[in-house]
Amino acid sequence: METTKKVNTKELLKHAFNMMMLLKQKAISVEEAKAQSNLIKQSNNLLRYELDRSIAEQKFDKLHIRNIEE
């Protein structure tokens, strides 16, 4: 399945809000909400890592951090 959505924190925030609203309206089941919240949490952690990494690289000139893909 392909998606045209961008992968960034803003989209993730919007998605998290939508999930919250859907759960409050009982439009999705508890299991689905749990699964979604786990995925959102993991995605958020990955994006947070990217942010922390770029901040660290800006602060310290000679810092070498292993690429997450390696």
Partner: protein, 190 residues
């Protein structure tokens, strides 16, 4: 950036072309910029259409494209948006997040130089997500105007861009708010 040509003359112009207008209206077209969703649009129409009340004519053109619009004095448009503050208030002070904000589609001035804005309501979160696209479209529009020798339209473009910019963007706030939302979802599902 898209440019649209309105290929129509007024009835008076067509009837009196030989005696009065000649090719004046074609040699002196009118151009203006407006903003819709995330795009800047350039409209060009013949000068003869501008002979009546040109503001009313421009407004009517925009109203055809953008439905459900409103007109405000420019300073009255509620643009008091600061993403960082709004998200902090939502997280820490449990304030509800804005649902809608006004998007400025067109800015115009009356004869006394009083500024007005044609606006539409858009979803707050939608507008946050669209900011990057707006930034890209703004850069593209700037290049387009400079390339096509429409540099005199740049102040108009800048005003529209500034009117639609959201202040106080901080990446860390997004992460913290997402964490907060995940915790709330987990609390609800327990």
């Amino acid at each position: 950036m898209k440019e649209f040509y309105l290929d129509a003359h007024t009835a008076y112009c067509i009837d009196n072309r030989a005696h009065f207008f000649g090719s004046f209206c074609e040699l002196n077209p009118v151009r203006f910029i407006f903003f819709v969703e995330t795009k800047f649009v350039l409209i060009t129409y013949y000068g003869c259409m501008n002979c009546g009340d040109h503001l009313e004519f421009k407004k009517s053109l925009i109203e055809k494209v953008i439905k459900d619009n409103k007109i405000f004095d420019l300073y009255e448009v509620n643009k008091s948006v600061n993403i960082s503050k709004d998200l902090t208030d939502f997280r820490i002070r449990n304030k509800s997040l804005k649902k809608y904000i006004e998007q400025v589609n067109f800015i115009y001035y009356d004869n006394s130089n009083r500024s007005f804005a044609i606006t539409t309501r858009i979803k707050y979160l939608e507008s946050i997500c669209n900011q990057e696209e707006i930034n890209e479209n703004y850069k593209e529009a700037k290049i387009f105007l400079e390339k096509n020798k429409y540099a005199w339209l740049l102040p108009e473009l800048n005003k529209l861009y500034k009117a639609n910019m959201l202040d106080g963007e901080n990446e860390l706030d997004y992460h913290l708010t997402i964490d907060q939302l995940v915790n709330s979802i987990n609390k609800l599902t327990k």
